[in-house]
């Protein structure tokens, strides 16, 4: 039975569109891809990506994953660069409100599904939550090996020398590993995976995370996953290990020393301030006495 036959939920819900926009067969196809992705952590599963009412680059992969797993009892949070109220987040949240009528929230702890672009929330995720990443470039070796037939073979045979060529180049030219986002990781000791353009500050949060992590790339037509409590190891050299960035100052709004900070330019005189990129985390800390 189609789900929209029994819907009588939110007044925001548009009754002329199937639940979560995609038709039921498409959702089933995407769910099959997701199941396969969960079974082989870090492996990129091809899927029949659909045309969405948003352009590529706006998170069509993540939207399709969310649309396939969302149910009426879910609570959705959407963030873009850590914030709940930037354009991309507002648009996607409104899209799901209109097509599903589910409850939406900005509270990380209250959400059952979190769709994200560029960040993992500062508040630790828990079991039962799902975080959906929007991925522009799923193939971590694409820059050095543009042939997809070849990269697939490299994954299959676990020939990952290329990834270190990339890091070697950074060290040769800058003396340190200059990649600060989309920093490649080894999942479950087997597949090298691109974690989407999250800052490398967030990489350690993926390791043994209790939540299910799903990745969708709409244009590239790939889905991959990190199941709960899976090892995720950032690459590095023995004498130049992986490290995350740090800041001189604390957040000027909530005083946190542990969060990822955005540099905000205040005027044309060069005045600037550092604030948390995770707006929910920052505002909750400000509310507390």
């Amino acid at each position: 039975m189609l789900q929209n036959d029994m819907v009588e939920s939110s007044p925001l819900r548009d009754p002329h569109i199937n639940f979560a926009y995609l038709d039921e067969r498409t959702k089933r196809m995407i769910r099959r891809a997701i199941l396969k992705a969960v079974a082989i952590p870090g492996y990129q599963v091809p899927f029949g990506s659909r045309e969405m009412p948003l352009p590529y680059g706006w998170g069509t992969g993540g939207i399709q994953v969310t649309a396939s797993i969302i149910g009426e009892s879910d609570v959705l949070k959407v963030i873009d660069q850590g914030s709940d109220d930037t354009v991309n987040a507002v648009n996607i949240r409104r899209f799901f409100q209109r097509t599903t009528g589910v409850e939406v929230t900005t509270d990380t702890t209250a959400a059952s599904i979190i769709q994200t672009r560029h960040r993992i929330p500062e508040t630790p995720l828990r079991e039962g939550q799902v975080i959906v990443y929007q991925v522009p470039v799923p193939e971590p070796m694409q820059r050095l090996e543009p042939r997809e037939e070849e990269t697939r073979k490299l994954h299959a045979l676990q020939e990952y020398g290329l990834m270190h060529v990339n890091l070697f180049e950074d060290l040769a030219h800058y003396g340190h590993i200059s990649s600060t986002y989309d920093y490649p990781v080894l999942v479950n000791g087997r597949y090298i995976m691109s974690p989407s353009p999250i800052p490398k500050f967030d990489n350690p949060k993926m390791h043994l995370n209790p939540a299910l992590q799903l990745f969708g790339a709409g244009r590239e037509k790939r889905i991959y996953a990190v199941p709960p409590y899976t090892t995720v190891e950032s690459l590095g050299f023995d004498d130049h290990p992986f490290e995350v960035q740090s800041w001189q100052s604390a957040c000027e709004l909530c005083g946190s020393n542990e969060s990822f900070l955005d540099e905000v330019i205040m005027d044309d005189q060069g005045k600037k301030m550092f604030v948390c990129s995770d707006s929910d985390y920052c505002s909750k800390r400000q509310e507390k006495p």
Binding site: V165, E169, D238
Partner: protein, 262 residues
């Protein structure tokens, strides 16, 4: 010299044929290659030299025949009977492949140092300092200034690129190198320098090589043994000096007499 009775050859090629569709371009080639030996395959364009080289280097599946290689711990093994993973492993550890056009064998958009140490990283070396030290050592051995280690190969001259390609292949201490016209496209003085360097390296490392060339001088300088090909068949095989000074087959005679004397 070598004890030919007890030791197996490094590579044994038996009855090798290659076809593109219904057209056979390499017909029934057999030879043994011994450790440290340099074999030159000469012949005119279209005689099947490069196809033969690709077939013995596991880059083009032959239509008939066997190619066996002496693995360090398993003895002679048929290379097309191995799994693809084993074959690729062999190709980047115990073998090297030097392309005619250096851009085909190098990563032009990463530094010389990364090019040279890529094979070591593929083998799991993860210490940047040590990787770099080995890269510098090899750049010196192929006479490239270590100050160029962070430069990209597209800033290098043709001769330097070719030497860099050789360093990139030899860093894992292979036992066999395949070379496809390694000196064509270089001017004569650069050719001479490269040949001199290759001769030194093959001697030092007891490195066997199969060199495809149309230049008889390259064969004379580097190779102990030579195979002359015409229309996909080996028309004459023998010691290089013997073959060049006293050619028996009419085609070899033609080839030797066609060389211009300055």
């Amino acid at each position: 010299m070598m004890d030919f009775d007890t030791k197996p050859p490094l590579m044994r090629v038996h009855g090798l044929s290659c076809a593109y569709g219904s057209r056979t371009v390499v017909r029934d080639i057999s030879f043994d290659l011994w450790p440290g030996e340099v074999l030159a395959i000469v012949g005119e364009s279209g005689s099947g030299k490069t196809t033969l080289l690709n077939a013995v280097a596991a880059r083009h599946t032959p239509s008939a025949g066997q190619v066996s290689f002496d693995l360090r711990d398993h003895g002679l093994q048929e290379i097309y009977g191995m799994s693809e993973a084993q074959r690729r492993m062999l190709a980047r550890t115990d073998w090297g492949f030097v392309h005619q056009n250096a851009a085909d064998g190098l990563r032009m958009n990463v530094s010389a140092g990364a090019n040279v140490s890529e094979r070591l990283m593929a083998l799991g070396q993860r210490h940047y300092g040590q990787l770099r030290a080995q890269a510098i050592d090899w750049l010196e051995r192929v006479e490239i200034s270590p100050s160029r280690i962070d430069d990209r190969p597209n800033t290098f001259s043709g001769g330097m690129r070719q030497r860099l390609q050789i360093a990139r292949n030899l860093i894992t201490q292979p036992r066999l190198v395949f070379m496809d016209e390694p000196t064509s496209g270089l001017d004569v003085s650069v050719q001479a320098k490269l040949l001199d360097m290759m001769r030194t390296l093959t001697r030092q490392m007891n490195l066997a090589a199969i060199i495809v060339t149309h230049d008889l001088a390259v064969a004379r300088l580097l190779a102990q043994r030579m195979m002359v090909m015409q229309n996909g068949e080996a028309v004459e095989t023998g010691l290089t000096d013997q073959l060049l000074d006293d050619p028996q087959h009419p085609y070899t005679q033609l080839l030797v007499s066609s060389v211009l004397q300055p």
